[in-house]
Symmetry: C2
Subunit: 223 residues, 2 copies
């Protein structure tokens, strides 16, 4: 679904492949190493906040995050998942404030680059704009998908579709790990957590999935 991550980010102009020995695996507290901007964050860490002045662009090397918005009364609505190879916070490139909060779901490795550096790179290598626009189209498509789900699918359909998306890179029938708990699934699909739980139970009863804690398996039964 998503192109493989290039060894060097086309858009950011910085190394983005996580395995190289020269790359620093800095953790939350030790940002700003001059030779590499790769950083790691634990799960449930906000990387930037909605409404804040946008200064950096984030490229995901590994792990899974979400874009989420919060209402004054404390309810949250997740807008899309951001996965390896994708960008977030590109509002920074056009001088807008961040539109939504970016928050890690799993442990993540990301590349955080100041907007002026990204722009300088784009100036030097105009081909990079194309990759940026490809990413923007992908993001747009993902958010449209979110609209479709919460707009006209039933709770059961939404949850099953989400599981299919989350498991799209593992072979059908193989167990995999959900990066979200029930509450976060609810915030993404606009369902109460109790409804999520009940609905998952119904999917299990109907033989469409199997669940063990946060591990899950999609079965082949067509209905």
């Amino acid at each position: 679904m998503v192109d493989a991550i290039p060894p060097r980010s086309e858009v950011l102009g910085c190394p983005v492949r996580g395995r190289g020995t020269t790359l620093r695996s800095a953790c939350a507290t030790c940002a700003g190493h001059p030779t590499s901007r790769q950083e790691c964050f634990g799960p449930r860490t906000p990387l930037f906040l909605e409404g804040a002045a946008a200064s950096h662009v984030v490229a995901v090397v590994s792990g899974c995050l979400r874009e989420v918005r919060t209402t004054p009364d404390g309810r949250a609505q997740a807008v899309r998942l951001v996965k390896a190879g994708e960008l977030a916070g590109t509002e920074a490139l056009v001088g807008r404030p961040y539109d939504s909060t970016l928050e890690s779901l799993t442990r993540v490795r990301v590349c955080v680059v100041p907007a002026p550096e990204v722009l300088a790179h784009l100036d030097r290598y105009p081909e990079a704009w194309r990759a940026l626009h490809r990413d923007a189209c992908g993001a747009l498509q993902a958010v449209r998908e979110t609209v479709l789900r919460i707009g006209l699918q039933s709770a059961e359909d939404r949850i099953f579709a989400l599981f299919e998306e989350l498991g799209s890179d593992v072979p059908r029938g193989r167990w995999f790990q959900l990066p979200l708990n029930r509450i976060e699934i609810g915030e993404l699909l606009s369902l109460a957590h109790a409804t999520v739980s009940r609905t998952i139970g119904r999917l299990v009863e109907r033989g469409l999935i199997q669940v063990r804690g946060r591990k899950i398996r999609l079965l082949d039964r067509r209905d």
Copy 2:
């Protein structure tokens, strides 16, 4: 909210201001005039269809359109409104099929340009990429707003927020024309048309708006 339309589209590299005497106001059937790509379409006309190979980018000169997706069982979900100065179908620039159907709501004047020409223009004037990305960010923000609305606002809030958006460029208290009928409002906000009608009635009762047919007026009453 949206930048004024430049006399010549930064992104498309073609004249985009509608009033010039040299511009042709072609109508649906007479596309393809070589000296100008400006065209007019009546209301409720699809300009491109979701899933089709994307060949052209559309810039809106005047009028209002919507991006909409349809399910196999015939229900529709609108994803965002597209207004003057905005683009649609930029998937064409990265070789993806159209992600959603673009359909006029009012009579519209648009600039329809083949993707290769847009790309050629972007090659010549790399600054245009920045304008394209600004547009993409705006589109993303609009779709996120749609998610927020249908995700966690009540029917009343959704409808009132939509009316505020539609009336954002007329002074508060002035009458203006809704470009959508009740069914289309429902498709945008994920509500049944009967609910839309009832809810509008409730807003009128509460003194928040006045309605005469498809003309509407937002009152200042705070609640």
